[in-house]
Amino acid sequence: MPAVQETVERVKRIDVDQYRYGFETLIESDKAPKGLSEETVKFISQKKNEPDWMLQWRLEAYRRWLTMTEPTWARVDYPKIDFQDLYYYAAPKPKKTVTSLDEIDPEILKTYEKLGIPLREVAMLEGVEPKVGEEDPAKRKIAVDAVFDSVSVATTFKAELKKAGVIFMPISEAIREHPELVQKYLGSVVPTSDNFYATLNSAVFSDGSFVYVPPGVRCPMELSTYFRINERNTGQFERTLIIADKGSYVSYLEGCTAPQRDENQLHAAVVELVAHDDAEIKYSTVQNWYPGNSEGKGGIYNFVTKRGDCRGNHSKISWTQVETGSAITWKYPSCILRGDNSRGEFYSIAISNGFQQVDSGTKMIHLGKNTSSRIISKGIAAGKSQNTYRGLVTAHRKATGARNFTACDSLLIGDKCGAHTVPYIEAKNSSATFEHEATTSKISEDVLFYCIQRGLSQEEAVGLVVNGFVKDVLQQLPMEFAVEAQKLISISLEGSVG
């Protein structure tokens, strides 16, 4: 869009005062000016019709961010990011309209096929729309059904959730419709000052999900199902907030096994979970962002802050993640075990192939009495990738009876990759029981040959062995998803051997 580009260029040339005047016309454009300034933050806030308190919150984060420096302790290596050379807001672009599955890249269709995603869902995920006067009735039927289904299914879900009293909406809507809840909880788990990327996110977050489950309610469905069908376009700075009130339960699934490409290289999301007394949140992620090409060019930088607060007694938060994509992953879904007898869990499968770099793990911070946590991490490195588990387990002076069990296994495929384990363990009272187990193994030629002698191809053999390796974690995923995830794992490792 040259007109927009022109506007952007013009805005760049004018000084701040003139910029304020120019604001009116700028708001018609769908891209914020390049670079990050208070004006960019205001632009985003205004675009989203946010109340003043939200704008002030963002600005405070922005000012804080200016004083911060990028973390360098992770075992990842990438060229320095010029934060003034990025766009921080772009209106969600409507997907390129295709009228039949024939127009979709056959490579992409092949991946869907391998994942076992039904064609009807492919049509939805890829945004196939019916063309008026379409000649081939068979083709047309797929498209019409797809649109029909996605609308009707979504509506049914909404009605059911409403009946249960569950609030589930984009966070941009929640800011306007439930300001009291958002104000109370936003930033209460990951404060705006938390870390470089979280602070950046607080200033410029685009959109994300908001979930509130009222006391005693068991959310009537996996909030995953909804996402499987509805394509999201939340942009690069996603912000999610989930609150489970006393005695409630919710299971939420983020992401998609389908391959996801995005023009934005930097992704810095923040996810906050709050579990009150006796509440439970199960949060599952399948991440399959573009990992870069075979030479290691391109790919997403995924710098995410995810944290759950077991605020109430007997509360429970469980993270399950299957990470196969992104060029660089920097991600530590954590639990603050504040309530007495609260429990945190972290189950992770992190697969790296090609030139991918993963530095991922968790933090279990035991503050309450008799709190317990469990960490099961499975790292698989193939190609020329580097895969690091980094975990922190701490027990506060008052966290008597704290218990943790950590099992951290790494599997190497080939001899050009690396697996690293960096555990930090800190117990400040003598009644804490922390266990840590770690193994590193190589996928052995003998095991592969055994499988191949029984009729499996090389790739099938690797897939089978790896799926066996990650079985404990796969079992934690919602049923329907586990099967897809299993296939995704095999696909991610294609071409990793021989």
Partner: protein, 260 residues
């Protein structure tokens, strides 16, 4: 020689012709020739380092071996041109000396994945779950394998005897036309050996050939061969009937060291 002539009238299943094989620049097999006809059981005996296991690995297609000369025909087709999994689908089965453990992969799942992969490669329909379960139950029952064992990870925590029985179970399930048993007796006590050998004997059929590789004559008391070959220094140096094994037991391999 009379004995061998009689066998020549049968169809050759496996023909190894003047096979030369190297491992990392060192020649292990120096022109080995061996013909196994349909329905026959051949024993290959020889001292350590004579190349017995190398032969079994090359037939199955294990990577790391370089064939510099010679030919292996299986049902008249060039076996060396096929990928190891294609060979499996064609009917080549290697019972390993040391079956590997595959943690997290339930034996049942492994059996099914492998069987269906072979069937698919042959253009046959994959087994449905009920059909497959029925077949596994039948076979495992005849081998005295408890259902519980099939739920465990492949060979994980199995005793030596259980591991070998699992190999025989797969042999029974996949119905190969050529079974190569590599040192099946290693690590087995006499009772475990008897159970495994009974399983193998039950699979004897006019359509199935076996190559039994062993260091000791003991195994051949249980699996009685039609032909015995003695290998030394990468060649077959003597072939004969089952009585050759007994002869070896009495006099040892030393007499063949010079012959090679």
């Amino acid at each position: 020689m009379h004995h061998l002539n009689k066998l020549d009238t049968k169809m050759a299943l496996l023909e190894v012709k003047d096979l030369k094989v190297r491992v990392e620049e060192r020649e292990i097999l120096h022109g080995l020739t061996l013909t196994v006809n349909e329905g026959e059981i051949h024993a290959i005996m020889g001292p350590n380092g004579s190349g017995k296991s190398t032969l079994s690995h090359v037939i199955a297609g294990k990577p790391g071996y370089e064939v510099t000369d010679g030919q292996i025909l299986f049902k008249g087709e060039d076996l060396l041109e096929m990928e190891p999994n294609e060979r499996a689908a064609k009917g080549v089965f290697l019972a390993f000396q040391y079956p590997v453990e595959i943690p997290g992969v339930a034996t049942m799942n492994f059996l099914r994945t492998a069987l269906n992969a072979q069937r698919k490669a042959r253009g046959e329909d994959e087994y449905s779950t009920p059909d497959f379960l029925k077949k596994v139950r039948e076979v495992s029952k005849s081998l005295n394998i408890p259902q519980d064992m099939l739920k465990r990870g492949v060979n994980v925590g199995f005793s030596g005897g259980e591991k070998k029985r699992n190999e025989v179970l797969q042999m029974a399930l996949f119905e190969p036309s050529l079974c190569i048993l590599d040192e099946m007796d290693s690590g087995l006590d006499i009772d475990a050996l008897r159970i495994a050998a009974d399983g193998v004997n039950a699979l004897r059929s006019p359509k199935r050939s076996m190559v039994v590789i062993t260091h000791y004559q003991r195994l051949l008391n249980y699996i009685v061969p039609d032909v015995v070959h003695v290998m030394s220094k990468g060649r077959v140096v003597k072939s004969g009937g089952k009585e050759l094994a007994l002869e070896l037991e009495a006099s040892g391999y030393a007499q063949f060291e010079d012959a090679a």
